[in-house]
């Protein structure tokens, strides 16, 4: 269970990393399918702006922290794929500018581009909350919106488990 501002990573068969009910937050999964290693961060805000202590909470610190974590478990950096879920615009708060969901999405994508991690799949934006599940052993990522069925996001072509 990966709650708001937290992250988790694993290389253990049978482990499933889950973030329930992502709204404007982003569930960022980094996976190396061949090494059966995966990590999931529950990103809340776009930029840490010098704040320390909770790297997974901010897009700019979450991406490198999670990458280090999965590499530490044996993932090969060149094989790591990213999957993004969340970043919905649930409410448009007064006070101009883009909303938190869109800014989170953009910030995570920018950081992934900087670190040259390809985005293999994404289900971001829109106006509904989502739950993300990452099956560590098989490298499968699924997403589910409220009142909807679970859909496979990654890998693109379903593989036999």
């Amino acid at each position: 269970m990966v709650r708001m501002g937290e992250h988790a990573f694993s290389g253990r068969a049978g482990d499933v990393l889950v973030s329930l009910g992502l709204g404007s937050c982003i569930g960022l999964a980094l996976l190396d399918r061949r090494a059966s290693v995966a990590g999931l961060a529950h990103v809340v805000l776009p930029a840490a702006e010098g704040r320390e202590g909770a790297p997974a909470k901010f897009a700019d610190t979450a991406v490198p922290a999670l990458l280090d974590a999965v590499v530490g478990l044996g993932a090969r950096r060149s094989r790591v794929d990213a999957v993004l879920v969340g970043g919905a615009s649930m409410f448009s708060f007064g006070g101009g500018g883009l909303d938190v969901g869109q800014r989170n999405d953009a910030a995570v994508r920018e950081e992934l581009a900087r670190l040259r991690i390809p985005i293999a799949a994404a289900e971001t934006g829109g106006s509904t909350g989502r739950t993300v599940r990452v099956d560590v052993e098989h490298g499968i990522v699924t997403s589910r919106a409220a009142g909807d069925v679970e859909v496979a996001l990654y890998p693109k072509t379903p593989v036999a488990a």
């Binding site: 709650r3 708001m4 501002g5 937290e6 329930l20 009910g21 992502l22 709204g23 404007s24 937050c25 809340v44 805000l45 704040r51 202590g53 909770a54 909470k57 919905a88 649930m90 409410f91 448009s92 708060f93 007064g94 006070g95 909303d99 938190v100 969901g101 106006s127 509904t128 909350g129 989502r130 739950t131 409220a146 009142g147």
Partner: protein, 197 residues
């Protein structure tokens, strides 16, 4: 700035929430023509993740009516209703829950109840508080609550959540009423109560 509150400060905030929700329940009661009971509110200062857990099961589908507050204090008032509670409330208002009007009717309830809550706070503290138009969404509880926390308590790890329950007498219908001030807003509230740091 300390992110922890003393018991005395939490008591004072709870009392504010109590008077605010009392006023709100009167507004709701006169709208529905039913009496409305309120619970003793809880005031908790919790890390983000714990705050979401404390409010309810993450994937439970709820309707949230969000009212932004600006002025001397930035805050968000959030009214949460379970699916059946929202349907009952629509029924009491004579609106079909499946109808497009339902969201607007619930938004209006949120508006009147939320505005009376905010006005009560304003009258008690002398702060000028302006409620914004309500917005409603039906979605997973965690998605709604986390979005409000992210938008409001932005820079802090700790969210202050003042939670009151309103229950419509004679109906199986209750709603949860949350006030989520920004961190600076909490200090402002406490200062006005003579309990600032």
């Amino acid at each position: 700035m300390s992110t922890q509150f003393t018991e005395l400060q939490l008591d004072a905030l709870r009392e504010l929430a109590n008077i605010g929700s009392g006023t709100a329940s009167t507004a709701l009661s006169s709208m529905l023509g039913r009496s409305v009971d309120i619970s003793v509110p809880t005031a908790e200062a919790l890390p983000f993740a714990d705050a979401v857990d404390a409010i309810g099961p993450a994937e439970r589908v709820v309707t949230g009516v969000v009212i932004g507050v600006h002025g001397d204090m930035a805050a968000t008032v959030l009214l949460l209703l379970g699916e059946s509670d929202a349907a009952t409330l629509c029924g009491l208002l004579g609106v079909d829950p499946a109808d497009e009007l339902a969201a607007s009717a619930l938004g209006e309830i949120g508006n009147i109840v939320g505005a009376s809550y905010v006005n009560a706070l304003s009258a008690m503290t002398g702060l000028t508080l302006e409620p914004e138009p309500p917005q409603s969404a039906t979605d997973m509880l965690a998605a709604i609550v986390a979005t409000v926390l992210a938008g409001r308590a932005a820079a802090d790890d700790i969210a202050l959540v003042l939670d009151s329950d309103l229950r419509v007498e004679g109906e199986d219908c209750s709603m949860s009423f949350l006030l989520v001030p920004s961190h600076g807003g909490v200090q402002e509230l406490l200062t006005r109560l003579g309990l600032g740091d």
